[in-house]
């Protein structure tokens, strides 16, 4: 197993190191990092806005670039939370707790330095996991029939909506809404136009980019306009030489880093538990293990290193189910599926260049991140002080042109505005829109497989519990719902309070 994995990896490096591919990866990492640093721009918004840049690139280059954008933005978010106490992306909310106090003590540079290192270690472990686990999972996945695929999707959807932030019932409602939006358009089997309300433009369904940009672009801007106070960059003057951690710092952060990595990789194996949960669990674990738990929140280096390692390890690990089973773990992964490539068990066999090239480029990209962030930190700090009023209005242009360029269709620009309005209303009503995207992406495939499973079983719904693999997934679903109810019934919602710090 190891030797084939290594040969494949070698091949992957060959693909990823081709001059144009490495260039796309580099551009992706730099631009992703740059946009991710900007306050208020999480990976979801960053990827959505930068998607149009990848149109017209060869699929391999495009996916390498998008992946680069994703982990670049992920890392950029850490800078914003450590230096400004602004978590642009929920996983970084815990990083703020100890990262910002460190900045106040003038040790922000050190915090950033160890973060670079911790995220690299976390990511490397996640990639290694991917190399060895993905081919195994693929072999299992090839045995899957429609019934198994259906129950696995159900598990993913349930986990994605109930374990995320906010009320689980509202999360499920958002997923159902997403599934419904996926239904709009022409039915693949019968050709019936559903819910198009007579608009021929809707025959092909809602465009994924319009949905993503509406919810995470326009909706988010409406939420933040005139609310974001001018950024207080008082403490944020970090110079290059401040970034080098001392030997003592490294020694203190070594074990937290390992623990964070392990927590992250465990979390990534459960579908639906994205980096947010990984980082919160990691922080809680670290606090428990520590001899001085009362000092957490006052600038403990462990409190920065552990969640960051965990976030990055889980982000990379999330690629495993996405790529091998074709079922994205969270909204970010769902967006990566845009580029015309259908991930799934066939991907590794049919497009080894994409799969192994992506794996290899993760490493190259993560090394680039380390190398880039050391000298460019001054530039990032400058970027942090750009006022929001310039940011959102320029971003509006990117939203419009991005949606237009996807299909050269102006109608979709209007579609985005409508979805953006809906997204803002939902946000005001206490919903989190991310599960919509997941439901939307999985919706058509869920329907297709559900119909097929029912056809094969001659309309017998028991097929989902009669086939063993499917039964396991269904059992997990029941367990998940049962746990949620149990936690509710017990009254004080303890696990929720940890997550609520993100808000």
């Amino acid at each position: 197993v190891i030797s084939t994995a290594l040969t494949d990896l070698w091949y992957g490096f060959g693909v990823a190191l081709e001059p144009h591919n490495i260039m796309w990866c580099f551009i992706g990492v730099v631009v992703g990092n740059m946009v991710g640093v900007l306050p208020g721009m999480g990976p979801l918004a960053t990827i959505s806005i930068l998607l149009p840049l990848t149109f017209g690139i060869h699929p391999v280059g495009a996916i390498l670039m998008l992946a680069g954008v994703m982990y670049g933005a992920q890392y950029g978010g850490a800078i914003c939370s450590i230096l400004l106490n602004l978590p642009c992306h929920p996983p970084h909310a815990v990083t703020c707790l100890d990262g910002f106090p460190m900045t106040k003590q003038g040790r922000g540079g050190v915090a950033l330095g160890v973060t670079v290192f911790a995220s690299f270690v976390g990511a490397s472990w996640g990639i290694t996991e991917m190399i060895f686990l993905a081919p195994v999972l693929v072999r299992v996945a090839l045995e899957f029939g429609p019934a198994e695929i259906c129950s696995l999707m159900l598990l993913g959807l349930l986990a994605g909506s109930t374990l995320a932030r906010g009320s689980p019932v509202k999360g499920v409602a958002m997923t159902v809404l997403g599934l419904m939006m996926g239904i709009i358009g022409t039915d693949l089997e019968t050709g019936a136009a559903r819910f198009t309300f007579g608009m021929t433009h809707l025959d092909d369904g809602i465009e994924l980019i319009a949905l993503a940009l509406g919810l995470f672009g326009i909706g988010e801007f409406m939420n933040s306009i005139n609310q974001v106070s001018t950024v207080n960059a008082k403490y944020a003057n970090v110079r290059l030489r401040d970034m080098r951690p001392t030997k003592a710092d490294m020694k203190r952060s070594f074990f937290p880093m390992i623990r964070g990595t392990l927590v992250g990789s465990l979390c990534s194996l459960i579908p639906g538990t994205g980096p947010t949960i990984a980082s919160f669990v990691a922080y809680a674990t670290e606090k428990k293990v520590s001899k001085t738990p009362e000092k957490f929140g006052t600038g403990m280096i462990e409190g920065v290193v552990c969640p960051e390692a965990s976030t990055h390890s889980s982000v990379q690990g999330d690629f495993i189910p996405t790529m091998s089973l074709g079922i994205p773990g969270d909204a970010v992964m769902a967006l990566l599926m845009i580029q015309g490539i259908v991930p799934g068990p066939q991907l590794i066999k049919e497009h080894p260049d994409i799969f192994w090239g992506l794996v290899a480029s993760f490493w190259i990209g993560n090394i680039m991140l380390v190398v880039l962030n050391v000298p460019l930190i001054g530039v990032w700090v400058k970027l942090l002080t750009i006022p929001y009023k310039y940011l959102y209005s320029s971003a509006m242009f990117f939203v419009c042109i991005g949606v237009y360029a996807a299909n050269n269709d102006m109608f979709q620009v209007g579609e985005t505005a409508v979805i953006g309005f809906l997204g803002y209303v939902l946000m005001r009503l206490g919903f989190h829109p991310a599960p919509i995207l997941l439901g939307f992406v999985l919706g058509p495939r869920f329907e297709e497989n559900f119909r097929r499973a029912m056809l094969i079983s001659r309309g017998d719904i028991a097929v989902f519990v009669e086939r063993p693999i499917s039964a396991v997934f269904i059992a997990l679903c029941v367990l998940l719902i049962g746990m949620q109810i149990y936690v509710r019934m017990r009254g004080p919602k303890k696990p929720v309070t940890v997550l609520e710090m993100a808000e």
Binding site: V169, I225, N226, Q227, K389, Y404, A405, G430
Partner: protein, 157 residues
């Protein structure tokens, strides 16, 4: 009780979900339901609609459990009607000016309208920003990425 309910956020959240569910559930059967074995195009929408109505009722039900006096206003403290309007008008401006005039007018209108939404924005600052972004946009999207949209043309009304 009824008056209290009207002021709860979850009441509206549930109501909205019930509304969506009703649209799906009532319109779904018109696409032919089919049988469980041979599902028609209306089967899943109808099922999802019913599920969403149930979830909506559950959400609206939790509104009863929320203690009085919490921040339950559905509108935020600062009502940015002007700002929201500008953000929503910006894509519409892009659509209009983009389809009749091309990339430059579209971009300019889009950024200009969006920029006006900020409280501290002036006409001058918005025009300057819109000019900069238009220049940048033409360079990046027309020359570099070659998006098939004319830079400047008049297509008539």
């Amino acid at each position: 009780l009824a008056r209290n309910l009207v002021r709860k956020r979850d009441f509206y959240a549930g109501g909205l979900m019930i509304l969506f569910g009703l649209v799906m559930g009532l319109k779904g059967p018109s696409y032919r339901l089919g049988t469980l074995m041979h599902m028609g195009p209306g089967f899943l929408p109808t099922a999802l609609g019913i599920l969403l109505i149930g979830l909506g009722i559950a959400i609206a039900g939790t509104a009863l459990g929320v203690p009085e006096g919490e921040d339950e206003d559905i509108l935020p403290e600062n009502r940015e009607w002007w700002g929201w309007g500008c953000i929503l008008a910006s894509p519409i401006a892009f659509m209009l000016f983009g389809s009749y005039g091309g990339l430059i007018p579209g971009t300019f209108a889009c950024v200009f309208v969006a920029a006006l939404g900020d409280k501290t924005a002036t006409l001058k600052s918005s025009v300057i920003l819109a000019c900069i972004i238009s220049l940048f946009g033409v360079g990046l999207f027309h020359y570099l990425l070659q998006i098939p949209m004319p830079i400047l043309e008049w297509r008539g009304l």
